[in-house]
Symmetry: C2
Subunit: 239 residues, 2 copies
Amino acid sequence: MAGKEKAPTSVWTRPERRRREQPTLSRDQIVDAALDLLDAEGLAGLSMRRLGTRLNAGATSVYWHVANKDELLELALDRVMAEVRVPDPEQEGWRAAATGYARSVRALIHRHPWTVTLFAGGPMLGPNATRTLDEILAVFEHAGFTGHDLEYAWSTLIDYVIGVAGNEASWHTGQPGVTAEEWMESLGPYLEGMDAQHPRVAAHIREIWAKDYQNVLEERFAFGLECVLNGLATRTPTP
Amino acid sequence: MAGKEKAPTSVWTRPERRRREQPTLSRDQIVDAALDLLDAEGLAGLSMRRLGTRLNAGATSVYWHVANKDELLELALDRVMAEVRVPDPEQEGWRAAATGYARSVRALIHRHPWTVTLFAGGPMLGPNATRTLDEILAVFEHAGFTGHDLEYAWSTLIDYVIGVAGNEASWHTGQPGVTAEEWMESLGPYLEGMDAQHPRVAAHIREIWAKDYQNVLEERFAFGLECVLNGLATRTPTP
DNA sequence: ATTTGACTCGCACACTGTACGAGTCAAATC
DNA sequence: GATTTGACTCGTACAGTGTGCGAGTCAAAT
């Protein structure tokens, strides 16, 4: 009589509260778990409840350590920013250093595709982002850029890199487990119509999504990066 | 006895079903309304329920015309793609045409910041996107690019434009109604710590978020675009 | 007059982020 | 040793989300 069966919990069925066996939750621990979820299943894979269960914690426990989900994402973003490497321009020259930086950022985005959306979410202020920014600014300073041009040069490079890498990454994310070839096949009738109306576009599509799709991506990035660096070189005060 | 007061609806209180006064919902009508919401309040402002009420329709009526929300967004995206203009390369030369295209896309992103995320969501197949792609490919063909280089050249430009414009747009979206100056002030203590550890970054921040922030954005884009085009020019087969 | 097929929509389900307040514990204080 | 404090956890609740389903409504075709 006392207990409805459908009641979510009852004093009798519910286990005792968990003892404090682990020290406590910590920010680092939380960010670790969040990164696991993000890398495994993308932005959509991270929900506060899932994060909670992964930490063997209640759904809302995280909120004591972190103001809200956005803040958590900021922390996660800065954590992965630690992976960016900037070669020393003194030794390698500004162009090699910039190339290394660009490739490093692209690789980061490939490893953590969920960062793409976040990169654009306003200026990044975390310690790792700051350190990286310092280093890459030093590179362009070494190249001779000063004042506004210094930031313009950096911005040109990073905006390009985020653009390409974002594009590349979202492909993986969008259709998980579909190869470029399979996708091309699914496009069959659409492509035929295209041949009639826009042969240029049809040819373009066929050329890109060929079987060596990965290779095309690499070539394309190499091409674009060289363009941007060549362009920057035309603006260098000290050639 | 017959009616519980808390019942969501009752036969007696509920109004008769709406007569078919308007012809029906149409795709165009739906996309129109979706665009209103998107432009006014961004991606987060569009929910199927709000869309329904805006159309004087039930929350799920839209689902007969459109498979799901993603598909609706695809339609909306292609609709705004109609705003992109590509100047005629025969008359203006490829460089001017490419410039016009780039500025046009950037302006589109500024007008519709919610497109940023979507741009990266796989290749766009809608009619307007296709038409635009055809035209811009013609521009680079006119410049002498062929085969893979043709797509690499276009990709370099569009990736850069999406990169910058995405960055610029998300600033507006992120902190609505906060000027660059106000934001700088809120950064006070943070900046002081920065002066000590990363003076280069501190200087950089101060230089960028000055009072002529808008002007900085314009200059930066002009700089970057010129770089990219200069870089592309170094790859042109027929100079 | 009846059938058909185009279209609408209420309800339900499983899920989201997070505010709130009650609860639990370890260490500091008396 | 008893008490207080403050750090931390978490169940519940609320208002929202996208969308499947099935019943319902209507105009046109038969």
